[in-house]
């Protein structure tokens, strides 16, 4: 059975359908998805449109299909999985599909973003319609050629067949198809008929990756391009007074030294342009500069106090309020209150920030790794007072994103330097630059207070104190919102000159640890099973009419039960201490059980069992990779991630003193999917937040100590009893 749906393409959207000079057709789509619940992103990228999507298919005379993947690839696998969805409905064998990265195309594409784990979820309907519409047009062209009705024809595997059993390949009719009208209705496949979706497809770039072909921004070069190493203020709050470039300018390979940063001929940064990366980096070290105090230089100790003051103060904004928490606390048998703390975190993409810019009078050519190409191109045009049509931006494969490349600061730098130097330039950050000129996850504290009465939670009050921005969108409506009569979420923030932004699973990456550890402690206080406590709480959410509640009690139950079953949670092996966590974010339901054992007197995370409900799994091979990575990343940053400031200066700036999780510390990840045919949701982020929580709960069982602060490694013995 297939589903016939009205086509959301307008005739106008298909005006770009055209025959190719060398044969074949190019189908250009401008689509709108049916997703009505907009996902809100942090303030800085709120202007992005998450509702539109489009794609290109190119079919050659020989039937070979090229699918342009418009969204940036940061390691989340959309360059493989999004074209798979088109290929499924187009009905071509996956091995006949060639995938290419689309460039930024502001005219034809409208949602070229990697962020919020939304590419697959938002693309699902549009990508299927794209494939199905092209397939129908090819069938119609074949039917016309045979002089039969299209309803008597079918297509599969790139071949159209009529009632008599005659066949035509897609390539045989592609020319005719390209000039046909767009069908008003197209049939979408029933999931049981899928031959590509749900099968393992390897990363489309794998052959290039394992042989070291140029793929990344750092690999990009053009004739005559200069490398720019940039001297930036040594501390947040410092301003450039003056600099001396006399030694640097005498150094081998140095082309130019330029002050920049404000797009007006001044600024607080100095770029050293040289022929090669090593020359630029060395010459940058030879610069000497005088810095003056601008805004106050902040330290981690200040932040610690400021965040505590915020939690103790009364400057909160209430994001959700159900019932009356104050009354619940007054009537409680017991009140439990705990405070959880997390540090700043740098993103630490393995490929340091870099970007190529060639600003000339007729064109602005930008090439490199960026999660938000459209918005960034717009900002470059605006700052250089140029038309957006002048900007030509190509996305390279990215050596990690994690949210850092949502921000185009390094693109702006490249554009300004190229504009001033009047030559093609690639800005290259050293690792030290990358870590010290970050847009960090802000330090945050949560204080959670629960009222307990008659063996139940009767009131729940969550307070967030953060730096520069607070939790956004639907986060205050995640579990346990809807599950409790009296529930309130309040947020407050402090404005800092330290740049902060989205970091993989913004806010939830730490909120999950705070909240889920707290539930574990509540279950202990109530003397109930922590898993059963959650299952009981979920009952109230069933059938809710509150549209802000987007998680599903039933789907949450499914992942909880699956994780409990597969992890052996009810019958743990001797010496294995298990921590349980269930969490919903980025539209995906996840439950995790962490296994901790004691080895050489130290608690060690051996394994994490994961149950995931992301609806239909488009590419299981890629999905598992995202899940494994998300979990290990979550464990790693919870255990080791720490970034502190002293007088505005980051106290570490490279991997000798910044600890990232490595092979020996990585737990084995075992994943189980809830099988259903619901529309797919994303996996780039949702498995990360529960990992730290599950680990901290397992650690408590293994050591007897509760953890209230990240990184766990420095805070494992801390104990705080308030309630």
């Amino acid at each position: 059975m297939s589903t016939t749906i009205s086509n959301s393409f307008s005739r106008r959207a298909f005006l770009r359908t055209s025959s190719l000079a060398g044969g074949g057709m190019l189908i250009g789509f401008n689509l709108f998805t049916a997703c009505k619940d907009e996902v809100k992103m942090p303030v800085d990228i709120a202007s992005l449109n998450f509702n539109d999507f489009n794609a290109f298919i190119k079919i050659a005379d020989n039937g070979m299909v090229t699918i342009y993947s418009p969204n940036p690839e940061i390691g989340q696998g959309v360059k493989t999985s999004m074209p798979m969805i088109i290929a499924e409905e187009l009905d071509v064998p996956w091995d006949q599909v060639h995938v290419e990265q689309g460039i930024l195309n502001t005219k034809d594409y409208t949602r070229q973003v990697a962020g919020g784990s939304q590419s697959i979820r938002h693309g699902w309907d549009a990508l299927r319609q794209t494939g199905a519409t092209a397939k129908q047009m090819l069938i119609n062209a074949a039917a016309a050629k045979w002089g039969v009705d299209a309803s008597e024809c079918s297509a599969s595997g790139g071949v159209i067949t009529n009632a008599k059993g005659e066949t035509l390949g897609y390539g045989d009719v592609v020319k005719e198809a390209s000039i046909l009208d767009v069908p008003e209705k197209v049939a979408l496949k029933d999931p049981k008929d899928y031959t590509i979706i749900g099968t393992d497809a390897g990363n489309v770039d794998i052959a290039k990756i394992v042989t070291g072909k140029p793929l990344f921004g750092l690999d990009y070069k053009t004739e005559g391009m200069a490398i720019a190493a940039v001297l930036r203020p040594p501390a947040f709050g410092k301003k450039l007074e003056s600099f001396d470039d006399s030694s640097a300018k005498k150094m081998e390979g140095v082309i130019d030294v330029i002050r920049f940063g404000d797009f007006k001929g001044g600024g607080d940064k100095v770029a050293v342009l040289a022929n090669t990366t090593w020359q630029a980096m060395k010459a940058k070290e030879a610069l000497s500069a005088e810095w003056s105090d601008g805004t106050p230089m902040e330290s981690t100790s200040n932040h610690d106090k400021l965040l505590t003051d915020l939690l103790d103060g009364n400057t909160f904004e209430t994001l959700r309020k159900d019932g009356d928490v104050k009354k619940a606390f007054r009537n409680a048998d017991q009140v439990v209150e705990r405070t959880y703390e997390s540090p700043f975190l740098p993103h630490n993409c393995m490929e340091p920030m870099n970007f190529y810019a060639n600003v000339s009078t007729d064109k602005i050519h930008l090439v490199g790794p960026i999660q938000t190409p459209e918005r960034t191109a717009g900002r470059v045009a605006e700052q250089l007072k140029r038309n957006i049509e002048d900007v030509h931006l190509e996305m390279t494969r990215m050596g990690g994103g994690f949210g850092r490349r949502l921000y185009g600061d390094f693109v702006m730098e490249a554009a300004e330097i190229s504009h001033l130097a009047k030559k093609p330039v690639k800005v290259v950050y050293s690792r030290e630059d990358d870590m010290a000129a970050g847009i960090y996850r802000p330090a945050i504290k949560y204080r959670i207070k629960a009222a307990l009465k008659d063996g139940k939670i009767t009131g729940y009050h969550l307070k967030e104190a953060s730096i520069n921005s607070n939790m956004y969108g639907l986060i205050p409506n995640f579990f346990p919102a809807g599950a409790l009569e009296n529930y309130q979420v309040d947020v407050a923030k402090y404005d800092s000159n330290i740049t902060t932004g989205a970091w993989r699973a913004p806010y939830t990456n730490f909120l999950s640890f705070a909240e889920q550890s707290f539930f574990d402690e509540i279950a202990e206080a109530l003397e109930v099973d922590p898993v059963q406590m959650r299952l009981d709480m979920l009952q109230k959410v069933k059938g809710t009419t509150d549209e802000r509640i987007q998680y599903s009690a039933e789907r949450m139950e499914d992942v909880i039960n699956l994780a409990v079953e597969k992890s052996g949670y009810r019958n743990p092996k001797d010496g294995v201490y298990q921590g349980f966590c269930a969490y919903y974010c980025h539209n995906t339901h996840v439950a995790e059980v962490a296994d901790v054992v004691i080895e050489n007197n130290e608690p060690v995370v051996k394994k994490v069992t994961v149950a995931v409900d992301c609806g239909i799994v488009v590419n299981p091979l890629g999905a598992l990779n995202q899940i494994e990575g998300g979990v290990v990343d979550g464990v790693g940053h919870s255990m080791y991630g720490n970034f502190t400031f002293k007088d505005g200066v980051p106290e570490v700036n490279n991997y000798d003193r910044y600890r990232l999780i490595r092979m020996k510390e990585a737990p084995k990840v075992e994943t189980h999917f809830v099988k259903n045919t619901l529309s797919p949701t994303g996996l780039g982020e949702p498995t990360l937040p529960p990992a730290g929580a599950a680990v901290s709960i397992a650690m408590k069982k293994a050591t007897g100590n509760r953890i209230y602060k990240q990184p766990f490694i420095s805070n494992m013995a801390e104990r705080e009893i308030i309630g």
Partner: protein
């Protein structure tokens, strides 16, 4: 600038660079061998690992001046067509997420397996501990090294 003659992937290549230029940047900026990646510049992440006389070393730490007369192999020269058992294993397991650190991982793994063709799980973990994968694809890296060992034993 002095000229150095380096033996890269079986070929003699001349390069005019200052003597302190790390091998990493000579490869990337002067020889168009960009498969070797810059990650930290201080020998902590392994993204720049290449083979020097068969040993995996961090090319960001060694100056070109010390590399003359040594046999250097980069990811581009590990096999002619990407069919070294380690590369095959990497493809089969579908290891990469972003893919940036993978050349360094593969160079570490291939040098390690040359010396220890039948490694235990712990030996694999120790051998690969110096290579950071920020996407944390460690489960698959471990799996791929084990698979490559199997392939090399066949």
């Amino acid at each position: 600038m002095p000229t150095y003659t380096l033996k890269i992937n079986g070929e003699d290549r001349s390069v005019d660079v200052s003597s302190d230029t790390p091998l990493l940047w000579a490869l990337r900026d002067h020889m168009d061998l960009v498969g070797t990646k810059y990650g930290c510049g201080i020998g902590q992440c392994g993204a720049c690992n290449v083979h020097v006389d068969g040993n995996a070393i961090q090319s960001c730490l060694v100056p070109v001046a010390q590399m003359e007369g040594k046999a250097i192999t980069t990811i581009e020269g590990l096999s002619e067509d990407g069919t070294h058992p380690v590369q095959e294993a990497w493809k089969e397991v579908d290891v990469p997420q972003c893919g940036y650190c993978q050349a360094g991982q593969i160079m570490t793994a291939s040098s390690f397996l040359d010396k220890n063709p039948n490694p235990t799980e712990d030996e694999i973990k120790s051998a690969m501990h110096g290579n950071i994968c920020r996407c944390a694809a460690y489960n698959r890296i471990q799996q791929a090294v084990a698979l490559a060992a199997e392939k090399m034993g066949e």
